[in-house]
Symmetry: C2
Subunit: 242 residues, 2 copies
DNA sequence: ACCTGAACACCGTTCAAGT
DNA sequence: ACCTGAACACCGTTCAAGT
């Protein structure tokens, strides 16, 4: 993710405070630059360890300077989540509602895998999730369902099923990724433990996993298609519509 | 949740350090009492704000005393999550694999709604989730699928679909609960905003919500049944089995 | 053996002070 | 107008000291 390329031209250059490398002038802060730094750090190390002081450091600035552009950590995090929602593809001008919603869900799935913190943050209970891009995303799903002929009730139903699968499955998938720091010895030891404790089916399951490296996308689509077909069955028989 | 009733008899009574109310002797600490206090506080205020110092306070003890029974906060949290997994009903001696797995999923859903922190913690990416009760839960799901006639691959597939729906949908549901602190004025204002910003379908959706108070359980079962039926379709035609 | 107080290295955020 | 340093009220955890 390199936002800087397309955005560098718009940055004000300020000479007043010397940056970490005093020879080059430092770019002015802005909410956008802060968001970019936050996203980059979150992509790298996750959101959980992320601190305002770290973000400041990364920008060559004290943490307190951030508060000139952002009301607090919570607002900053919800801003970057909304940025991700803004990138979900919603414009599939196909006449087929199933194909269109399928493509939106897969686009969202891809983005959430790229930025795991977005998925994690939206699903954190108690966090405020009402933000413009998210609302647009929901509106677009509801609109496509209603225009396909679903009743308001079934459209709500369908949105719930689709959105919960898109977010929920993806977070589940992310949580089951093998962390990069895990050693082969650890895995070996784990399998040995499964074997010794009579977890025969789990052992078999682990072997399926190692033989079929990553079928996350297909599994996401498997559940997604079940939902789409299940919704289709709720639709009244279509005589006039294509 | 009152574990204390059934467990009180086993507590050692220690007189040495005076409790907050000096007249009564204080119960000895134990991992179990610490877990109970942690679960109670997490039920009440959520996990995010929970601190070791708070847990200590609640037990009339310094935070540092907890470390005599628990290696750290992470171990403590994974212990209480595993406790919840241990309460999921796995023993459904019905011959029908679908009914049996359905009942397990619904039992898990109920427990996760009761203890939202459990669902939140298991799905936190990067957290260690390998614990005995969780392994037993997975093994039991895999076993039922394999015994129903699924191949190792399809059983893995099925476990993924069932578990991701059970955890993922429930967390999604929890995240969409209206927080208790929200005022009617706020909701009113929100609806007004939706109206003004041309979010017609969202407004309609909000109205569906307010007319049908809570249909979370039915929606959980809706997705669950889609998965179970979808899996059934993968099963080879059953000539000998019931 | 178990609990404590002080301490360390962190948090998010406020606020008066600098330029 | 924007950035800073010091400070406040918190974290999880270590460790030597108490009993």
């Amino acid at each position: 993710m390199t936002y800087s390329v397309s955005l560098a031209l718009h940055y004000k250059v300020v000479n007043m405070p010397a940056g970490p490398n005093a020879s080059e002038p430092r770019l002015a802060l802005s909410k956008q630059r802060i968001m970019e730094a936050t996203m980059a750090l979150a992509d790298l190390n996750g959101v959980r360890g992320l601190s305002m002081r770290q973000i400041g450091d990364h920008l060559g600035v004290q943490a307190m300077s951030l508060y000139n552009y952002v009301s607090g950590k919570e607002e900053l995090l919800s801003s970057i989540v909304d940025h991700v929602f803004g990138e979900i593809r919603l414009d599939f001008p196909s006449g087929n509602w199933k194909a269109s919603l399928r493509a939106t869900a897969i686009s969202a799935h891809d983005l959430f895998l790229e930025h795991p913190w977005s998925c994690e943050l939206v699903l954190t209970p108690g966090s405020i999730w009402i933000s413009t891009a998210r609302l647009r995303y929901i509106e677009s799903i509801l609109a496509r369902l209603r225009l396909a002929g679903f009743s308001p009730q079934d459209a709500s139903h369908g949105y719930h099923a689709l959105d919960s699968h898109t977010l929920g499955y993806t977070l589940w998938e992310l949580g089951h990724r093998i962390p990069s720091g895990i050693s082969d010895d650890f895995v070996e030891e784990l399998l040995h433990q499964l074997d010794q404790n009579n977890y025969g089916y789990l052992l078999e399951h682990a072997n399926v996993h190692s033989s079929e490296p990553d079928y996350g996308i297909e599994e996401f689509a498997f559940g997604l298609d079940l939902i789409l077909e299940g919704l289709d069955a709720l639709l009244p028989p279509h005589d006039t519509l294509k």
